[in-house]
Symmetry: C2
Subunit: 406 residues, 2 copies
């Protein structure tokens, strides 16, 4: 990991033009190595099929000509983004004549620990280099062949640029202990981003001494207020729950104001009973056919065609429920009442709070950030989609003419 630190010390001194040149070379190398990358990906897919990996996981693991081209194109988008490094964030001349400016700088070395999605290998590398950071990649063993082929192409591209080849490092060792080494290597790593399920995130948070950005666990809620447009509420439920249930911004719990519960539940049952499993509170069970929901159901990120339902007496009970169970990712209120909307926004302590819009919009692309490193559910440094501008720190530069403190 010493090589990474050294590479980072060189990389942080490069200009935007030099970094963009490296990104162009990476894009070209990926296109040139398409066949080799797809072959390696095929090995991973065959092993995945053999291991009876779930369809949705196999889909995420799959690279195709079309997907690789789209990834290469997304590199062009990052090239077009403004360099987040070297920005003068503030500055002043002090009464003694000393000048203090605050300038954005790279974090240094970023480590990302992620699931079997080869596209993350490219996204993370591109974002890191553009923001002047060296990157340590630790992907899933089930995508190892794909990642090796991708990183080979990336390094081939870097070799034609001023960015040191050592600025990108792939950990091929599958041992879990390697992750523990990474997340405690404070001397060599400045930031760890775990990206994956709750188990991985918790393991990292519990064991890391390197600062981390927690990402991705989304126990998201939809609260249908007494003054809601119920047709809109049903559309938002359907979009939030069913469009892509396996992602972190999908809905997991539906909270219903008691005054609209009866009407909404009948509409919902009629429309969605064929494609969704309902787990509801006792009051819900009196209205439609549901399995009784447990506390654990309310705490679970199903990532599946299942929704937990609870009828509440008022907005305060809805807020209390969310405060108790939420992972602080994304929550939505459906209402036409301004007082309720404001109360919900002010009280809910989540990265993204929605009024009358789908939680599925919590995404770097949808927010206009370009590619993203994940969705932060913590409060330090960055909340919500983690884009280019969140991968930097800053330093104060103080220029004087011999000023001393009295």
């Amino acid at each position: 990991m010493e090589n990474l630190r050294e590479a980072s010390n060189k990389l942080k001194l490069l200009s935007t033009n030099q970094k963009n040149k490296a990104l162009v070379e990476i894009r070209n190398a990926i296109i040139e190595n398409t066949e080799e990358i797809l072959e390696a990906n095929m090995q991973d897919l065959e092993a995945g099929v053999h291991l009876k990996m779930k369809g949705s996981l196999l889909d995420r693991l799959t690279l195709t000509h079309k997907r690789l081209n789209a990834l290469a194109e997304s590199i062009d988008d990052v090239i077009d983004l403004k360099d987040p490094v070297g920005v003068y964030l503030s500055g002043q001349t002090m009464p003694n004549g000393m000048q203090i400016v605050r300038r954005s700088v790279p974090m240094g070395v970023i480590a990302i620990i992620y699931e079997a999605r080869p596209n993350v290998t490219i996204d993370a590398t591109i974002l890191a280099i553009k923001s002047g950071n060296a990157i340590l990649l630790r992907g899933s063993s089930s995508a190892l062949n794909s990642n090796i082929a991708l990183v080979k192409a990336i390094k081939q591209g870097l070799a034609k640029s001023d960015v040191p080849v050592d600025a990108v490092m792939l950990i091929e060792d599958n041992d879990r202990d390697v992750v523990k080494q990474i997340i405690t290597a404070n001397e060599y790593i400045d930031l760890v981003i775990p990206r994956g399920g709750a188990e991985l995130i918790n393991m990292v948070v519990e064991n890391a001494t390197v600062p981390t950005i927690e990402t991705g666990v989304g126990n998201c809620h939809l609260y249908v207020d007494k003054d809601a447009n119920l047709g809109m509420a049903l559309d938002l439920l359907q979009n939030g729950k069913l469009q892509r249930p396996s992602v972190c911004n999908a809905l997991e719990t539906l909270l219903l104001h008691k005054d609209v519960a009866d009407s909404f539940l009948h509409k919902m049952y009629f429309k969605l009973r064929g494609c969704l499993e309902f787990r509801g509170c006792e009051r819900t069970a009196k209205i439609i056919d549901v399995t009784i929901a447990t506390d654990e159901d309310y705490a679970t990120e199903f990532l599946d065609y299942v929704i937990a339902i609870k009828i509440v007496d008022d907005i305060d009970e809805a807020i209390k429920h969310i405060q108790k169970y939420s992972s602080n990712h994304s929550e939505c209120i459906v209402t036409d009442n301004l007082t309720s909307a404001n109360k919900f926004v002010d009280s809910i302590d989540s990265s993204c709070v929605y009024i009358n819009a789908s939680t599925r919009f919590t995404d770097g692309g949808e927010f206009g950030f370009g590619a993203e490193m994940g969705i932060s559910t913590q409060k330090m440094q960055v909340r919500g989609p983690v884009g280019l501008e969140h991968l930097v720190s800053y330093k104060y530069i103080i220029t004087g003419t011999g000023q001393i403190r009295e």
Copy 2:
């Protein structure tokens, strides 16, 4: 700690006027309780004398009428500062008509673990309340009586305001295990700020699962370049090392370009030999009378009348030395050469990088932030002095008319 979370949920909804009213009441209560606070402080001081506490520590522990008045006045300064909460940081209307705004919000509950300085009890409480955060105070056992009296006054003030009395909590239990409980209480604490020596900071970083802001360890360097004004360099050394050796922004190591070493060392020796212990490299030892410095000396934050000295061949060697030993707090180059100054600023990865000015300026007050929570030496969230504006996070608020993701 549940009470703190509940208090935080109420406090975060209060207006600037309501929070400022609470600060006024705290100031008044401290003035009204002056005698009781000073008596409690006297008990701590007597115990400290009995335990043969160092003079500099006793000085930090001491409260007087004058110091308490100054503290009360500093509350007025914080009242005058702009509320960091509720600021609209950015916002846009998306192509589908959905509006995304980013608004600053309190962190929630902040815990501070600190040394025997009763003024920190007031500073930390005031900054926390102004930024809408509840605060858990865990001071040193040797300041316990003072802290109990101060927090009693603070709560007396809060009782006359809209800020819940439970928003401030003092841990009176001296057990070290309590610290471990605090720094792993992710459900109740959003941010931990350890403030003290390297041992405390390391313990917190190694064991915390709650996000932390590392503060205060300062192994600060002064590099005298070949193109330095040597008179200025000597002034900066004297100010940085001798004005207040026990603080984190004091100098610990002097690096000298070989071309100026001879001349500078003689000047320095003549002026400071009576009040400073020199530990130098072999080359230094050939010029002036020093103890030979070890690697450990270069790594040590002496906080005392001792300085480590090393002669380097060029600026690159100076930069490498700092990269190896620095705690990333504050470093200074003395030079009249623009290329050297820029190289130093770009290469050194510290919170505050000085050109021709004393490292002693790294301080919230000197930077114009008012009171501070400490000096951050990490890269996430905040670097350098931690003031009011660094104690907040943000949330995205997305307002729509039923938009769903295609």
